[in-house]
Subunit: 450 residues, 2 copies
Amino acid sequence: MASSKVTPLSGFPELLPAERLLELHFLDTIREVFELHGFAPIETRAVEPVERLVGKGGDTDKEIYAVSRLAARGTDTEAELGLHFDLTVPFARYVLEHAGKLSFPFRRYQIQKVWRGERPQEGRFREFTQADIDVVDLGTLAPHFEAEMPLVIAEAFTRLPVGEFRIQVNNRKIPEGFYLGLGLSDVAGTLRIVDKLDKIGPANIVSLLIESGATQEQAEQCLALAGIRTDDTSFIEQVRALGVEHPTLDEGLAALAAVIETGRSVAPGTLVADLRIARGLDYYTGTVYETQIVGNEDWGSVCSGGRYDALASDGKVTYPGVGISIGVSRLVHLLISHRGLTATRSTPAAVLVAVTDEESRPRSTAIATVLRERGIPCEVAPKADRFGKQIRYADRRGIPYVWFAGARESESGERVDQVKDIRSGEQVDADAATWTCPPADLRPGIRVGE
Amino acid sequence: MASSKVTPLSGFPELLPAERLLELHFLDTIREVFELHGFAPIETRAVEPVERLVGKGGDTDKEIYAVSRLAARGTDTEAELGLHFDLTVPFARYVLEHAGKLSFPFRRYQIQKVWRGERPQEGRFREFTQADIDVVDLGTLAPHFEAEMPLVIAEAFTRLPVGEFRIQVNNRKIPEGFYLGLGLSDVAGTLRIVDKLDKIGPANIVSLLIESGATQEQAEQCLALAGIRTDDTSFIEQVRALGVEHPTLDEGLAALAAVIETGRSVAPGTLVADLRIARGLDYYTGTVYETQIVGNEDWGSVCSGGRYDALASDGKVTYPGVGISIGVSRLVHLLISHRGLTATRSTPAAVLVAVTDEESRPRSTAIATVLRERGIPCEVAPKADRFGKQIRYADRRGIPYVWFAGARESESGERVDQVKDIRSGEQVDADAATWTCPPADLRPGIRVGE
């Protein structure tokens, strides 16, 4: 059916089975943690009307993929559709569309593909999977949810083979109030400039700020604020020491202090108050989050989000929310290519049941059936073959055990099954109805490859 | 962010949380069975070059969704892309593209969304999830795989709340050899006519066959073959009794007998030899499968597939395969709307930890943390409130237990936690470190709704 010429599509990477097993380990772990915290699963359709996708700020408009029926092009009267580029925009629409059937506050998780027509580069794909949690309420949203979000993420990341990580938290009201208190009224413009600090360095930030109308002193104050970073609430004193005052600044400092305090009591050492974090998207209005893998800060944030006062509105009711999103594909691909992570085998099978001749296949199938009933994933050898070949077949896939039906004759003259651990070479008598697969071998493990 | 006017998109249905929990139960069960049988997971990108999607027979060309970057329309030099409409075409391409890194025979499962621009109607969607298994090999493929496929499906369906089901099996070589033996050389044309039997009835089939050049007797013989249906190998005698002979017919009968025999020994009563099953798609060359839910035969096949001698070819190597595909979204939507199936709750949380005043929230959070460490999904009440309100909150979501911190004073004057089963009203002392959640309540169950 598929014929010769196949060329990979740039920006649409695909994983080999062992790599996909690694990704599934990530997805399963993340989902388990989300469910332990009582987030309900939903999925939204992959497409939205284009007019709902455009105008969300940044470069997103240029990156939207339009979708139309090939046969109906040009003549179609259907609404113009586009593939969603994140899970927040479709979630907001889902909330409005189904509000009457949802209970608020509504806690949901959503793990799905999204598409962005970006210029492909390492860790930047045109199709990738995101894992999001959000809490959305009617009218007002309790502030404790802003402290909860990063703690759920911390729990997921602690269970994942990512090593040390750091969740950086800020509150948009801090720079907003600070800039206003300084006398800089173009808050968004100032934020946008300071956001480039990592890329262009402090000297250029100061020049740009002065260009946009700030004094030297104001520019330096902005830079000083962005430099504050503490793992406790001492950031408050450091901000106060800059001598700027504004009610919005006070609100922001109190809100951020609450998040950091809760973090310190529940998961010490994971949250950092980092007053440089701004997040590009315009809809954030309070707490914002970014997450870095320690030692690989150059990967950028692998999990980000924040609070929005108006996730959705139907004209009468406003739905404030707070959410955070893990860039799963990005993270997994980076771990594969930079840290050599992979699964210990390329199949879920823990056991290969050998077949010595085709006539005995039903016997091997029966053994496999018993093992599966007991929750042990296994495969029956595809071809009757010598023992050595069967072991090589298992070895190539990383299957740890090979089962030989009736491999040994007992003293009473009966044929006894044996199972071989092909890593150690140890071969022992076994009965499919009672043999225990070591729990560590039941599912593929994770290893650091060559 | 999302504003007022939201209208559902026809053909792109979305599930409410309790319904999505039902769907996840299906997806998890199917995946578990696939993994128990040693199928390795892969995912393919959602898009393929359009030229790879067109020309697969039937109405598929008209139903392809084309994808292009909104910003680059008309000016784009990128390959024209389309959303995949099944998982077989992309799998064939994946095999060719990654052949050097795969081990054959390659057993894979794939659970993903597909898109078809069909006219939306009940159980026919424009976006839906399929769950596929296939085995593909180099050059030749052992026939025992054709018997294995429906047995994996039977195991999955037995674990799912679908009631009685029937997997109908045929072998394309039977009608092919039979028609040739009868002297009808237009095999494809004859198949296409007989395939309409259910829709237009026997009299119309005979007329159409005669119109296409068959004699009355030949037409009646074709109809007689299509009427044969046995749950053992007695179909062979019934075919022989029609007095038609052809070597291809013999091959087909022997192959089908092998599948039915294996089925009877492993999963008695699930496989039926049904000589009418043809499957529309042109690439099937041997065994073909369809699956019906007993009592809801009008839903059509919910799981279909077959054998293809050339799934893919790179000019030098040919890859034969056999596979089967469950139409998960279709099945779940039909069960929801016709049998009222749903999950027993709209959240994964088994416990709501009550909060009596905002000052005691850290205490409730600490209890939740202990429960979660022990694998019990729970939610901390979003708002401090009276006991009755907390119970109503849990009840609305179907959460079976509400936990009250320090609800009772013990004789020694200590505060003791209590947990209430809100279904029975029973409230007992409990300690988060030792309380056992009844296994049936750990995850949402399935129930038949009103």
